[in-house]
Symmetry: D2
Subunit: 168 residues, 4 copies
């Protein structure tokens, strides 16, 4: 069994529809429900629910807490890390990690979704599937993985109009 | 082939998630995409896209236009009618129809959804399926049909907290 | 709460795909998993797993056992009954019930599917949804309910080529 | 845009349920319908429908034709190749490719499914998603990619009882 850490921070991928308010919100984490739809016979997925925020509302302290969690995982029993994150500031968090973690024992994959998991046309399960595979095969480094694309974190930006990431 | 008229007015059942704004909105009608998931070999579904509104934003003129459309359908080639509608003012529209249509040749079924069609846990396709069957078998009258329940329109109210309709 | 009895006998609707043999079989009942996808706030569904057979393999004794179960339900606490059944001999079982139950306190709905529940393009959940509604609103009688159609059991036959039921 | 060739040969992943016979069969290719569920903005997927066979029925000539197709793709405009294939003889085909293609310009990914695409619990879309990502990031070589696992083709065997591939 190969361990993969998942650090869940919220973002669109985990948003749920509220029947009371008619809006989508970050309330309860639902990511593990979707992991159960995948076959992962040799992967030991260890999920940390760090926070559940729209990434536009993440503070500096929130990003520091992501960094601290990555340090803790790499300190104890190093293994690849997948971070689920809102797309709007995913790159910002990734660059903070890059600046503070000059040497990495394993890859860190940032991923998320444009449409919440389980909504029609969602890219969430595709991105989770890709990220869990990327975690296994990519060399150490910090990446954004979504939509069949793999970007080093310092080479990528979100294109809001296209609703996806592009090279910068 | 037996005709069933569907008059689509919007409401949660037709809401879509916008990747640009991160909100759910009434933009394009998607109801016909879901009819295609059903087997309706002897039903000739004729859809009228009357409007696409959150029912809290429907005006008196909007409700009059629903009434006019029902009159037109019953005037030309009478057949059962299913009206898809936001749940918040579904009963109000139904009562207007009741007041103005003392004699009905066929049943009128009001339906909608608490969660949009195609979102995880949606009740939309269930309610459409039930309403199309109710349209075939109920006697003339005006009903709310959702969640395996059939309410005469003057006996029902929405319970917001329970997120469903209850007897009144 | 209104009770609805469900008597599950197997048929295509409950078939599952076996990864070991590459075939579809009647092994475990899965119907209750699909009931949980429906919102049935006022329905108390009581499921009896009577057998799990392809209806071409049902014997006279099997059909007698369906009859005995119906008698038992109607004898104790009468309520509408939905029977899930293979489509090939659904009508045969229905006619046996009709012959032996001249007076019915509630409707009996026979339903099934052309494609198993959960397979792409399945009509299973549609037929269950329709049957549970039909159980509430139809007068006493024995019916086949599938594909937005309601047939009295002595007026229907399966058309294998069309993969549906038609009037006879 | 980066090209990825897909060579479809059939196998469980493409099987469909026949309502007439009640069996699952390799009849029509359905793989492209599932590609459309994925977001692949920078991938130009070019699908070759080579055959549609249960891999237990593949002949030597069939395997030679897979080899010839790979040679043709690599000869004209080399790009990564994903081969969808029945799992029972997937390794056999992979080893034939390995023996005959000592130098590869790009990776060749063999994938398939234990349960057909679109059947409940199917691993098909997961495996396609993983294979399309693996095609982008793996070094030249011949691999089996399924269930979050990446096996060099000479290190893998199917475990029928576990319904998955394991290291050999």
């Amino acid at each position: 069994m190969d361990r993969i850490y998942v650090i869940a921070t919220g973002g669109t991928i985990e948003k749920v529809y509220s029947e009371q308010t008619g809006t989508v919100q970050n309330v309860d984490s639902k990511i593990e429900r979707y992991f159960r739809m995948l076959r992962l016979p040799e992967a030991e997925i260890e999920v940390t629910h760090l926070m559940n925020k729209d990434s536009l509302e993440m503070t500096d302290a929130d990003r520091e807490s992501v960094l601290a969690t990555v340090r803790e995982k790499f300190g104890m029993a190093p293994a690849p890390i997948v971070i689920t994150h809102g797309t709007d500031t995913m790159v910002e968090t990734g660059l903070l990690l890059q600046k503070n973690l000059p040497e990495l024992p394993y890859p860190i994959i940032l991923t998320g979704a444009m449409t919440p998991l389980g909504f029609e046309g969602s890219d969430g399960l595709q991105n989770l599937t890709e990220s869990l595979l990327a975690a296994r095969v990519l060399p150490a480094g910090i990446y954004v993985v979504m939509h069949n694309q793999v970007f080093p974190v310092d080479r990528v930006r979100k294109d809001r109009e296209l609703a996806r990431f592009v090279w910068k």
